[in-house]
């Protein structure tokens, strides 16, 4: 459901910066359904990828063969991403706060961490330079937290007004996070830059949402119900995109 919901949010988008794993399946599903003209950009240096199979990693050879262009990573990050050509970037997160600030670096103190996470990779660059940012992650009280342990990728900072001023002053091209898709629902950001639950997935409840979040969440007065996956969406995922069920079982 998380993948299907993320894919639907991509309707009409043009240029999408693809991460590995769940974003990868969501983007490929969107390209086959709501966003057929979307071009896939992989941080490894590929524009206009046309993968013949679901890529196993972010640098799978299948994203190169038949692509429109292969570039050095310098060009990809400098000209495509920092240059402002990316409409949507995807981020995952180990921790996220109510303003969409993200931690993928450490749990605990930086110098003596409880858990050492991967770090930024391209994430802080996507957060700053992509026109908008989609977050895709499972909800839990450990991941949706009042205060993140390390800010790897800036979201709406301390709130929308603050974020808008800083983004403007520092000439960022990105407008920050626009949606968080979880296993329970779809969150957008309200006028104060805070996450608001706008849609609940089939089977999820507001109670479950409250149990898996470290702050008192805002919930839309007109809370929608996410339409269940269509047969076609399920078929595409199960047959074409992830037949082994690696990511979606």
């Amino acid at each position: 459901m998380m993948i299907v919901a993320a894919a639907r949010e991509l309707a009409g988008q043009r240029i999408c910066f693809v991460g590995v794993g769940l974003p990868n399946i969501a983007v490929n599903l969107a390209k086959r359904t709501v966003a057929p003209d979307m071009e896939l950009v992989y941080e490894a240096g590929v524009f206009g990828a046309r993968p013949a199979r679901l890529p196993l990693s972010i640098g799978d050879p299948t994203i190169v063969t038949g692509a429109t262009a292969v570039t050095s990573m310098f060009e990809l990050f400098a000209f495509y991403l920092q240059g402002g050509l990316i409409d949507v970037g995807f981020l995952g997160a180990a921790q996220i706060d109510r303003f969409g600030n993200i931690n993928t670096t450490v749990i605990g103190h930086y110098a003596t961490p409880t858990t050492r996470l991967p770090g930024s990779g391209g994430a802080c660059e996507i957060a700053i330079n992509a026109r908008q940012v989609f977050v895709i992650m499972r909800q839990s009280a450990r991941s949706f937290v009042e205060r993140i342990d390390f800010r790897t990728s800036p979201g709406n900072l301390g709130g929308a007004a603050n974020a808008a001023r800083i983004r403007e002053e520092q000439g960022w091209l990105g407008r920050g996070p626009s949606v968080v898709v979880t296993d329970l629902g779809i969150w957008h950001f309200d006028d104060e830059g805070e996450m608001r639950l706008d849609s609940l997935h089939p089977g999820a409840t507001v109670e479950r949402v409250r149990e898996t979040i470290g702050w008192e969440p805002k919930i839309a007065t007109a809370l929608a119900a996410t339409p269940p996956p269509t047969d076609e969406e399920l078929r595409l995922i199960r047959v074409e995109l992830d037949p082994g069920g690696s990511y979606t079982s």
């Binding site: 240096g45 990693s57 640098g59 050879p61 310098f74 920092q82 770090g119 930024s120 802080c124």
Partner: protein, 304 residues
Amino acid sequence: MSSKVASMRDAVADLVRDGDTVAIEGFTHLISFAAGHEIIRQGKRGLTLARLTPDVIYDQMVAAGVARKLIFSWLGNPGVGGLGAIRRVTEGASPTLELEEYSHFGMVARYTAGAANLPFFPLRSYFETDLPNANPLIRTIESPYGDGVVYAVPPLKPDVTIVHAQRASAAGDTQVWGLLGCQKEAAFAADRVIVVVEELVADEVIRADPNRTIIPGLIVDAVVVEPWGAHPSYVQGAYDRDNRFYLDWDPISRSAEATERWLREWVHDLDGRAAYVEKLGSERLASLRPGPAPSGVVDYGAYR
């Protein structure tokens, strides 16, 4: 033009020294596992290992005790999970492996500054993040045009850069297709360069298509011919990523003992890459061969 062709053993013995900063580059593609294993086999010590994505090869090298420090931007087993050996020495109350951390573009920018002999490289990353707090080498710099501040990273000049490639001439002129990563920048930034190739080709093959050359022999110290030298990573057009290996590594690396056993069986007890390839077996190798997808030919024109 004298030949730079050398065995992996000699190349690593001559060009990689204890305490060096070593960059084995290649973004998912063309990762020189063969060179990493030879460095382990020769028992090098005190290395600073630089790489955007310290993946399985650096996990193995850290487990083997060759490294004192990592310079990196993303630490993990791509598409699988964490790196057990590195986690064991970086988590908890007294980590023993030093970390110097950037973002992907920050690392690429560092190599670019190193290659271009610049004292810094400017970029728009890091604003409003904790990364500059964690790494004081990430600094701000004011635009001389009065339009604000950006961040800067310092040059990275490895003592040795090691890259795997599809082909090179004996003089070291090296061609790559598929993902290019930042091998060119890392090689130009380095004091010494080792190129490991699937295939040694005649100078004429290189000269027939000069736009494909990413590293000139000018900056190359040794050319090592080592087919399958990038396994379990891949070589565009030659073999696929061996995903089973990456999945298998996850439980192995979670156990210090299993890691130690693996290193003994697959590195120390073998005398080089040829033995490793033989041990992998022809069936497994055959399963990694792609079908053909030819590039087509372009004409450079003969101008006399």
